[in-house]
Symmetry: D2
Subunit: 429 residues, 4 copies
C-alpha cells in the first residue's frame, strides 16, 4: 500500500534544480541496493574519455527521468484531463525510475560483447527476489508485473508506455539536458518547461498541442546535434572499440583455458554467459576497471596492452573514408596480415548511423516512433507532415566509414602496405 | 626542451568552457598514466552520496586549475608586469596541473586511516621513475625538483608558490566553481573574470587591486557558504565515517591474521603502510569499491555490514548536541557497552570546524594565509583590515557536535540507556 | 466575480522562465493602460548609465513579483496549511501585481524633487476612476479598498501584508534576481526555489523553516552585495544627482516665471505639485527624456547644460572623503563661491547608508523587519539570534562621504582653492 | 593619433561578461552624444510588447558587436595570420562599434513609413559635423571616409567588410546571443567561443576551419529558430503594423494641413522628409512615445485611437490563411467597405518570409552571403555543399499569410460579411 511521505524529500539536482519525492514507495526504491548500484554505472559509458565532465551516473539520470515524469503527471492531474488514467500514476513513476535498472557496466559495449540486453535484466531485477522486487510487491503481488510490462512496452494501457517510452519521453528529455550539462556542450539546451506544458493525453497516447511545434522542432534539432557532436564522437567510438576488444580477448582466453591471476566473481559467469540476477548485480564499472588494472599485469600481451590503452587513454587513431565495400575491407585485412599485423585487433570499422527522428512509416510502428500534434480542431498530425524542418532532418545520414587502428603498430610497417592502402592510413587525425 | 604545439588543443569544460593547451609538455603530462589515473578519483570524495551530481573527478579539477593559472599568467604577460618572472611560466603551469597528482581514493578518509599525505605522494610521483617524471625531465634534470618545490611550497621564487597556493589561488577558484556546478548549488558562483583582472604580481607575491575588494568579499562569502552547505554536510560526514571504519576494520583484521578471500595488490601493502610509488598508483576508487563489494561476502560480520552500508548508502544517523566534554563522551561509551553495543564502531563524534578566512596573525604565516589589497598609492593592506564583511566572517565558528550511530542497532536498546543519554538519541534526523 | 481563464496565459520571462496567469482578473489588470504604463518606467532608474544592461522596466518586475507570490500561495494551498487564509488569494495576487503601479519616472529622484510618494499614487490609482479601479471593482465594491490596504500595510489580515511586504517578500526576491540578471552581475543569484519551499504561514505571519537558514543567509548576503555593487554605485548616484538638479532648476525657472519653449502637460502641474491621477499617469520616462532633449535648447544655460550632461552621460566626477562635518561643508561652499563656482549646483554631497538587514529591535516594528525561523519544536526565533553571519552583517555601515562636482568647472580654478580643499579635489576618479 | 588608454576600461555586460576598451579612440566614440543616443533606441523595436524582457537598446548591442570584433582581431593577431592586415584593426573596430549609429526610433517601421535607410544616416553621422566625426578625424582626415566605406561595404580591403558584415559576422553573433538573453528564449545560445576559434583570415576573406562545421550548423539552426520564434512573432508584427499606421496617419494629417497640438522638432521635418543630421539625431523612442501619448488627445479620432492601441497594447488580432491572391484581397477590401469598415486601416496583410541562410547562387553576391569552409588541404567550400542540414534549411519558407484587424470593429459587423469572408475572420487567436 502506498503512503505519502510525512514530509516531501528532495534531491538537489543540477539539471532540474530539485527532484521531489512524495511517495514512500519511491523513496524506498531509491534506497535499494539495486538502485544505488546505478551510481557505479556511468550514464555515457566511455564518453568521459572525450568529454571529461561526462562522469555522471545512471543514478542521476534515473532520478531525472522520474522527476520529469512526475511533473508531467502532476500537470495532467492539475488540468484534470479525462484521457489520463489517474490510477496509473504510481506504476508510471516506478517504471520511469527503474527503466535503466538493468544496465551493466559500459552498457553498449558489454551488451555487444556478451549478447545481453539491459531491458531483460531490468525486468529480471524488477520481478526477482531483490530489494526492488520486495518493495514493489508492497503495492500488490502483481505490481512488479505491471512495472515490467511498461518497461517491456506491452502494458495494457498504452498511454503509460507512451509516456515512459516515445520520441518525446522523459528519458530522452532528461538525457539531452543532462548530457549537455555534464559534457558542457550547449547543443542540448531545450525549453523543457514549454514542451511539458504542451503535452496532453489524448485517446490513449501523449500528443503535443500544435502551438508547441516550434519547441519540438528545437528539441529534435538539439537531439540531432547531440548525436553528432557527443554520442557518435569518434574518440568515444575508439574507446568503445578497445573496450569490446578487451572483453573479446578475455573471453577467448577464458574459453581457451587461460588461468587469470585476477578473476573474481561474477566474471567467470559473465564469460560463460551464465549469470544469476544476484551475480549480475555484482557487475559495475568499478569491477570492470579494477579487472583491467589487474589485467595490465596478465601474461597475455594483447590483453595487457589493451587494458593499458583503455585505462591510460592511449586510444586507436582513425581515418575517415567516404566509401567502403566488403571487398575493400578484405583487401585491407589481407594486406595487414601480410605485414605481420593482426586484422582481428589492429583494424576496426565503424559506420555511425542514426535517424534522429524517423518520418512516418505506415508499418505498425505508430505509437513508438511518432510525435503527434493536436490542432485546435482536435485533429492529429504527425509532426513531419507539418514541419519542414523536421522533414528536412528526418532520415538524414551523415557520417562516413571510420577505420580505427593502433597507430604505433601501423607506423613501422605502413610503407610496406600496398599503395592504395598506404594512401588511406597515411593521413593522421 | 619545451615546444609549442603545432596547433592548440582544447578540452571542452563545463566550467571554463574550454581548457587550452599550447605547450607540448602540458599535453604530454596530461597523457601520462599517472595523470589519467585521476579520472578514477572523485574530486569530492563521498559527497556524491549527498549531492548525486558530484561525481566529477580530480582529473577535471586539475585541468581547471591549470587553465585558471594559464589565464592569470597570460594576463600578467599581456600587461607586461615587471614583477612577474616570465621564465617561471612552465614550472608554474606544471605545478598547477600536477598539484593533486598524489591524491588517493577517497583522499581524506584514506589519509586519516593510514597516516599518509597526498602531497608527499605527489612529490614522489613527480620525482620518481614515472611517466610524469620522464616527461618533466625533458625540460632539464632539475625540472622535476622545481615542480616538487613549488608543490612543497619551498620554491626559491615565492611568487610562484603564492600563485599556486594561497587563499585566492587557482585551486580554490576552480573547486568553488566546479563543485558548485556539479552539486548544483549556486553558492559557488563567483565572478572569476573580475578577480583575475584584479590580480597583480607585486614585490614577490600576488596581490589584488583595491577596486577588486568587493569581488574578493563575494568570493570569501561563497567559500564560506560552500563549506557549510556542501563540504561539511552531515550526510557526507556520515559516509566518511563509515569509510574510515571500513579501513580501520580491514586493517585490524589483516593485522590479526585474517585471510581475506579478496585482497589484491596493493591492498596488503596499504595495510602495512609499505607501498612503492608503482603500488600506490594502483590505488584508485574503482579498486576500493570493488574490494568493498567483494568484502560484503567476507566472513567478518562487522566488515561485511560496513561495506553494505557504504555501497548501498545505509548511512549512520546523527544527532546534534550543543556541547560535549570528555566525561560525557566516556559516559555514553560506557552506557553503550552496558547495553551490548560496541562504542568503537557504533558511536562516532564529529566537530566540524573551519576558518573560511583567517585574519592576519603576525606569526610568520604571512604569505600563505592572507589576501593583500594594493591601493592606488601602491600601499598594501590585508583585506580583513579594510573589509568589514571579511572581518565579520573571519574566524566564525559554526557547527555543533554531531554524534553518528547506526540507527537500527540503537533503536532496540534505546529504552535501556540511562535517561540523559536516551534523551540525546531519541531525536531523529 | 473572478473566473479562471479558459486557458492559462503565459509570459516568457528571462528570470522565472514563465509567468503563469490563470485568473481573468489578473489578465485584465495587466491589460490596463495604467499597468502598461510601467513599461515606460525603468526598474532601476538611472542605473542603466552604469550597467548598460539594466534597461528593464517596472512592468517586468511587477509580473515577476506577481509570479513569485503565485508560486508561494500555490505551495501553501498544496500543503493545505491551516494558517493560510485561502480566501485571500486574489487580494494578495492583485496587491503583488500592482504594488509598484504609482511609480513615477526615475522614481527616487522625482519623489525627492517634488515630495511625492509612489505608494500614495499607487493607492490613488487603485481606488480611482481608472481602468485598474474598474477591473478591481468587478470583484466587489470594497475590493479596491482591500488591495489598497495591503499596499498601505494596514490590511486586516497581517499575514497578507507580511507576504507582500517583508524582508523576505516576493518584491525583494524578484528584484535581486532580476537586477542581477539584467546588469549581468552575479551577486544576486539566490536559490529561490529553496527559499520558497521553506516558507510557511504560521500564526498570522510568514516564517521560514529552520532548515532554510542557510538559504536565507545566502539571500541576505546577496542583498548586501547588490546594495554595494549596484544600487549604491557612485556613477549611478552621480546621474541621480544631475537628474535632481534638472528637476530643481526647471522648477525654479517655472516658479520665477520663465517661459519654456517646451512644457507639455502634465509638467506645469508637476512643478506646482498639483496633479490629478489622470495627469500623473501621463508622466513617464519617455516624457522626461523628451523634455530634457528639448530643454537642451532652452535659453537658461544651467538647465540646458544639465540636460546635456544627463542625456549624453557627461556625469559629475566624485571624490571620497573619510569624514565630513557641517563646518567643513560650509568651508567648501564658501571657497567655491570665492572662485566663482555655484555651490548649489557645482557641489553635491552623498553619504550612502543601508541596513541590509536590521537586527531585532523590540520597538514595535516586529512584523516588518524580521525574518523568523521556525524550529522543529514550533518555536520562533529571529534569524539574527541564530545566525552568526546575519548578526555580522546586520547594521554594517560601509561607505564614505562622496563629493560630486563638475570636473570641467573645477579644473580651471582648482589652484585657487585653499590648500586643504584643493587637496580633496585633486584626486581624480 | 590613437593611444592606448592608460588603464583598460570595462563595461559589465550580461552577454559577454565584460566589454574591454583599450583604445582612447573607442572610449571617446562611446562618450559622444550620438553614440549615447543609441540608449534611447531599442534593439528589437516593438518586440518588448511580445517578450517583456526585450527592452535592451542598440547601445548594448553596439558594444557587443565591438567586443566580438575585438576578440576576433586579437585572436588573429595572436595567431599572427599573414592574411590579416594588422593596420586595419582600428578602422574595423570603429566600424563595428558604429555600424548601427544611424538607426532611428523603431527602425524598421519608421524607415518603411518615411523611406529612409539607417545605413545612409550612419554614414552621414560618421562623415558629418558631429562629435563622432570629430573624434574619428583625430586619426586622420580620411579616417571617417574609411569607416563609412566599411559600413557601405565598398572599402578597399574586402576582408574588413567581410569581418564586419557577413553571414557569420560579429553583428549577427551578438544579436542572436543578446536577443535570446533578453527575451529569455533559449534558441539563440550558440558556442561563440568555438566559432571564434574556428575563424581564419584567408585570401581576403574570413573563412571557417572545416572542424568548425558543426558549430556553424548549430549557429544557423539557432538563427532559423530565432527568426520564427522571436523576430517574426505575429504579436510583434501586429504592433509594427499599428506603428506604421500611426506614422502614416500623422503624415496624412500633416500634409492635409492639420494643426497638431503637439509637434515639436524634428517631427515636422520628418513628415516632410527633410531633416538635417542634427535634426535626425533628435529622433529617439522617447520622443516617439511622448508624441503618441500627447496625440491620444488629438482631435483626429483615428490617430488618437491608434496611439492608444500602441501605448496600451490593444493590438490587432490576426488570422492565418494558407493562401491569398490579389483578387481575394480585393474581395475582402470591398466587403469591408460595404459594411462600413476602412480597409486602409482595418485590414493589413503580412507574409513573413526569410531566408535564414541562402545557398550558393553564382551571381556575384559571393562575399556577402556565403559561409566558406577551409579544409585541411586549404580548399574552400561553401557550407551548404558540405552540410546536409544547412542545405535542408536553406531557403525553407515557412509561414502563412496573416490578416491583421481590429477585433472590436470587426465583431459587430462580422455577420454581415459575405459567407466566405466571414469564415476567415470567425476564428479568433
Amino acid at each position: 500500500m502506498n503512503n505519502q511521505l510525512r514530509e516531501e524529500k528532495v534531491f538537489k539536482d543540477p539539471v532540474h534544480n530539485y527532484v521531489h519525492v512524495q511517495d514512500e514507495i519511491i523513496w524506498a526504491l531509491i534506497n535499494t541496493s539495486e538502485f544505488q548500484r546505478l551510481r557505479r554505472i556511468r550514464q555515457l559509458g566511455t564518453s568521459y574519455l572525450t568529454f571529461h565532465g561526462a562522469e555522471h551516473s545512471r543514478f542521476s539520470h534515473s532520478l531525472g527521468v522520474y522527476e520529469i515524469t512526475r511533473r508531467i503527471i502532476s500537470q495532467f492531474e492539475r488540468a484534470d484531463y479525462a484521457d489520463w488514467p489517474k490510477e496509473e500514476r504510481l506504476v508510471t513513476l516506478c517504471a520511469a525510475l527503474l527503466h535503466d535498472l538493468g544496465h551493466g557496466p559500459f552498457s553498449h559495449s558489454i551488451e555487444q560483447a556478451f549478447q545481453m540486453h539491459h531491458e531483460d535484466w531490468t525486468c529480471k531485477i524488477v520481478l526477482g527476489d531483490t530489494e526492488v522486487g520486495e518493495v514493489l510487491r508492497r503495492l500488490g503481488e502483481d505490481f512488479p508485473d505491471k512495472v515490467a510490462a511498461v518497461i517491456r512496452k506491452d502494458y495494457e494501457h498504452p498511454i503509460v508506455v507512451n509516456l515512459v517510452s516515445s520520441p518525446l519521453d522523459a528519458d530522452r528529455m532528461d538525457y539531452l539536458l543532462r548530457d549537455a550539462y555534464f559534457t558542457g556542450v550547449n547543443y542540448g539546451t531545450i525549453d523543457m518547461d514549454r514542451i511539458l506544458r504542451m503535452l496532453r493525453p489524448f485517446q490513449g497516447r501523449i500528443v503535443v498541442k500544435e502551438s508547441g511545434m516550434h519547441a519540438v522542432e528545437d528539441y529534435l534539432m538539439s537531439r540531432y546535434q547531440m548525436y553528432w557532436q557527443v554520442y557518435f564522437h569518434p574518440v568515444t567510438r575508439s574507446s568503445e572499440i578497445i573496450l569490446r576488444q578487451i572483453f573479446r580477448r578475455a573471453k577467448e582466453l577464458h574459453e581457451s583455458g587461460h588461468q587469470f591471476a585476477f578473476l573474481p566473481d561474477p566474471l567467470p559467469g559473465l564469460f560463460k554467459r551464465d549469470l544469476t540476477v544476484q551475480e549480475y548485480l555484482l557487475l559495475d564499472e568499478a569491477l570492470v576497471q579494477t579487472a583491467f588494472m589487474q589485467w595490465k599485469r596478465e601474461s597475455d600481451g594483447l590483453l595487457s596492452e589493451l587494458c593499458s590503452r583503455f585505462l591510460d587513454r592511449k586510444l586507436y587513431k582513425y581515418v575517415e573514408v567516404e566509401s567502403l565495400d566488403l571487398e575493400m575491407i578484405d583487401d585491407i585485412r589481407v594486406a595487414f596480415k601480410d605485414v605481420g599485423l593482426n586484422p582481428d585487433y589492429d583494424l576496426e570499422i565503424d559506420f555511425p548511423t542514426d535517424l534522429p527522428y524517423d518520418v512516418f512509416r505506415p508499418d505498425g510502428e505508430f505509437r513508438d516512433k511518432h510525435i503527434l500534434l493536436l490542432d485546435r480542431q482536435e485533429q492529429i498530425r504527425e509532426i513531419s507532415e507539418v514541419s519542414d524542418i523536421v522533414r528536412s532532418i528526418s532520415g538524414l545520414h551523415r557520417g562516413k566509414y571510420h577505420l580505427y587502428y593502433p597507430d604505433n603498430k601501423i607506423a613501422p610497417v605502413i610503407e610496406r602496405l600496398p599503395e592504395h592502402i598506404h594512401e588511406i592510413f597515411k593521413q593522421t587525425t
